[in-house]
């Protein structure tokens, strides 16, 4: 579970605004569904997302059950200096997944 796909440009010019896409495989079980025997399926969702650039927060999101399965986010970042862009997802139980990409600023 929890496959992460990231789309981050490898290089950028200083001051350029680059587009970032981040997807994580997750059912985002809403807690409103019922199983085949009518039993309630408990909620199991990712509640938080954060993107940091050289340790500083660039963008973050709070999710509720209305976010579709395999949540995808497209957002932007200003390329400043070369460094690590780190992505972290945290679910309702505190479990977290992260991945990172290196951005080279020419």
């Amino acid at each position: 579970m929890a496959g992460i796909r990231l789309a981050v440009p490898g290089t950028a010019k200083k001051g350029e605004t680059v587009e970032i896409k981040a997807l994580i495989q997750h059912a985002m079980e809403s807690g409103f569904r019922r199983g085949s025997r009518g039993e309630a399926i408990p909620r199991d969702i990712i509640t938080q997302f954060e993107c940091t650039y050289n340790g500083e927060q660039v963008f973050a999101a709070d999710f509720h059950p209305a976010i579709a399965a395999n949540p995808i986010l497209t957002f932007y970042l200003v390329a400043d200096v070369s460094g690590e862009i780190e992505f972290t997802w945290i679910d309702q139980n505190g479990q977290s997944w992260s991945d990172s990409k290196t951005l080279t600023v020419a």
């Binding site: 569904r33 976010i67 970042l77 400043d80």
Partner: protein
């Protein structure tokens, strides 16, 4: 003959003004929604929300309510002195009024975000943006949902 034209014009005006009233009705209806108003109050208090600067993009018709592409953009220079702090998304018809909250920084460069949401029925999705100066701006977009996610959401 002249009378006939006149009558048509009068009838046209009556019908068209009626259509305008009907079109304006949903605006009044969603603002009354208690859950949405409460959820908005929990995040922003009872501060005044001005209309504008926030653009919500949704397809006019969503065939599948399980995954509807949503984009929100806010008109802001995104400089350290003037940027968008956060944008909250609300739904008047889903089981829960809160959809998501997005936090921006001047390093975001652009106050724009896209994701995919669940919609349990035709409704006007609303977005409220809080600027770095504390002002609130709001916008919304209606989507007709043919297969609602509410059946199995």
């Amino acid at each position: 003959m002249i009378e006939q034209t006149d009558l048509n014009r009068r009838r046209f005006l009556t019908v068209s003004s009626g259509a305008v009233m009907i079109a304006a009705l949903p605006l009044a209806a969603y603002a009354d929604h208690e859950d949405l108003v409460r959820a908005r109050g929990e995040l922003f208090g009872d501060r005044r929300i001005q209309d504008g600067r926030v653009t919500v993009t949704l397809p006019p018709i969503a065939e599948n309510g399980h995954s509807v592409p949503l984009s929100v953009s806010v008109d802001s220079p995104m400089t350290p002195d003037d940027y968008v702090k956060r944008v909250a998304i609300f739904s008047p018809r889903n089981p829960l009024p809160n959809v998501a909250q997005f936090h921006f920084t001047p390093r975001s460069g652009k106050a724009e975000v896209s994701t995919r949401i669940r919609m349990s029925g035709t409704q006007i999705i609303q977005a409220v943006a809080e600027m770095s100066d504390g002002s609130l701006w709001g916008g919304g977009k209606e989507t007709v949902v043919t297969l609602a996610a509410c059946v199995v959401l």
